[in-house]
């Protein structure tokens, strides 16, 4: 039976260690979007002003569509992007900034799973492509970093969200729904690919 829970960000390690793969969450608080170039920047340059902002917080693998209207940013579409591309940087970033929640799609690898377990964090899956559903959960766009040089999809957008629906798919105990599904599909794959 999946539990339906609410989680306020930022949060602490003990709270996220209670969560289990399969739980559904409604997230509220601040999240920062980050994708390929942002991860490299966060992992390699370790910009000072990002520590306070990310400590206990959430990183969202997302390249949104933002529209500038009446002197403020409006989020028009904000579904997740594939997380696995960030595998090389994820453990470093979780450790460096004390991130408690990664949101994305498709799951992550064993190095990230180990970092979630070691430092106390969870990976949550958002539904790929469901961009308006998530944009509607964005209350406001607070700030943007590196917009000029990274461009809209790759910039880091700080957003305030309310009741943003996700599912815990990799927990701090080492469980991963993706690992289970892949192992099961591998057995099926071997079955159907026999000549």
């Amino acid at each position: 039976m999946t539990r339906k829970l609410k989680l306020i960000l930022p949060t602490g390690a003990s709270a996220v260690r209670e969560l289990r793969a399969g739980d559904t969450l409604l997230l509220s608080g601040s999240i920062l979007t980050a994708r390929d170039r942002a991860h490299q920047w966060l992992a390699e340059e370790k910009p000072e002003n990002m520590h306070a902002l990310l400590s206990g917080g959430a990183l969202y693998h997302c390249g949104p569509i933002m529209l500038r209207q009446d002197n403020r940013w409006i989020c028009k579409a904000a579904g997740p992007t594939s997380s696995l591309r960030q595998e090389a940087f994820m453990a470093t970033i979780i450790c460096e900034y004390g991130i408690r929640c990664i949101i994305g799609k498709g799951g992550m690898g064993e190095a990230s799973a180990e970092a979630l377990r070691q430092y106390g964090a969870v990976y949550c899956s958002a539904v790929g492509g469901a961009a308006v559903l998530y944009a509607n959960a964005v209350e406001s766009v607070e700030k943007v970093f590196r917009l000029e040089d990274f461009g809209m999809p790759e910039a880091l957008w700080l957003m305030h969200i309310r009741d943003f629906p996700v599912m815990v798919s990799m927990d701090a105990q080492g469980n991963s729904l993706y690992r289970d599904v892949e192992a099961q599909s591998r057995r099926q794959y071997r079955g159907i690919s026999k000549p």
Partner: protein
């Protein structure tokens, strides 16, 4: 210039086409997702993913917002009467693309690898993509496909024979390639996917034909009996993989399989696989006299 179709008409119609393509799922795709939702176990991760997908489709249409933020490389397939200038149509479409981007219906996606700069308006080298064909009708037909990067990343091409897959130069070899692609993709291409397959051709024509299969209605049947059998067999087998919506398990891994065969070189047997996410955004518009 064609007397009944002006460039201003094309620009205006193309903008409407892009907006509809970005905000509305085609009825056959929506129907396939609804059927999939009914098949999954209630309250399972698969059922919840499909419920969110369908809910989102409704929101996007009502709010007229892009149903997915990754609007990909816009692909245009244009069939035009003899009198229209290809260059002028292309310029009109480029203007519509830039306008749709400015208005938040397309995400600026064109990044120059030389400078790593995003052009900001979806215009760049081979961006958007155009395919022109002259036809024998008085009207202009424009089809648009928006295919995101996640599904593009998991698309693949094989050269048979492939020893690792034990895939020979026959349809069972083709099936092995498709199973391999879908298995490797897991949820990363935004399953449940739609699989376009190009058998034969060369590396370019095979993939182009595979991508063009994504325009086919999910409910159609292949006029070629061999390809129809292949499509049906693969649809059944791939849905036994258990990968499910977004790779979180379930009965629905693909919504459709569509294959085409092109003449090949004696030395080559390519299998090109265009993986499309569930958000299969395609739309069509006709401008001018319907005849």
């Amino acid at each position: 210039m064609n007397q009944t179709i002006s460039i201003a008409d094309i620009e205006k119609a193309a903008l409407e086409l892009i907006i509809r393509c970005s905000c509305e799922l085609p009825p056959d795709v929506l129907g396939a997702l609804q059927n999939a939702g009914a098949r999954e176990i209630p309250d399972s991760p698969a059922a919840m993913q499909l419920e969110a997908i369908l809910h989102n489709a409704g929101l996007a249409m009502r709010q007229q917002q892009p149903l997915c933020q990754d609007t990909g490389v816009p692909h245009f397939y244009i069939e035009h009467p003899q009198q229209l200038s290809v260059l002028e149509i292309q310029h009109a479409l480029e203007k519509s693309v830039a306008k749709a981007t400015k208005r938040g219906f397309l995400r600026p996606n064109a990044v120059d690898p030389l400078t790593e700069k995003n052009s900001g308006d979806n215009l760049g080298r081979a961006f958007p993509q155009f395919n022109f064909e002259e036809h024998d009708h008085p009207f202009l037909r424009i089809r648009c496909l928006l295919k995101g990067g996640g599904s593009e990343n998991v698309s693949a091409q094989y050269s048979l024979p492939d020893a690792d897959l034990h895939a020979g130069r026959d349809f069972s070899g083709v099936a092995a390639c498709v199973s391999d692609t879908v298995f490797r993709a897991q949820g990363k291409g935004c399953a449940p996917g739609i699989i376009g397959i190009g058998i034969g051709g060369d590396r370019v024509s095979g993939m182009k034909a595979a991508k063009e299969q994504l325009f086919r209605n999910l409910e159609d049947t292949n006029p070629d009996s061999q390809l129809m059998a292949l499509e049906e067999e693969l649809y059944k087998k791939l849905n036994q993989l258990g990968i499910g919506p977004m790779g979180l398990g379930g009965k629905t891994t693909v919504l459709g399989v569509k294959a085409v065969a092109l003449h090949r070189l004696p030395a080559c047997y390519f299998v090109s696989i265009a993986y499309m996410c569930w958000a299969c955004r395609r739309a069509e518009i006709r401008i001018g006299n319907p005849e």
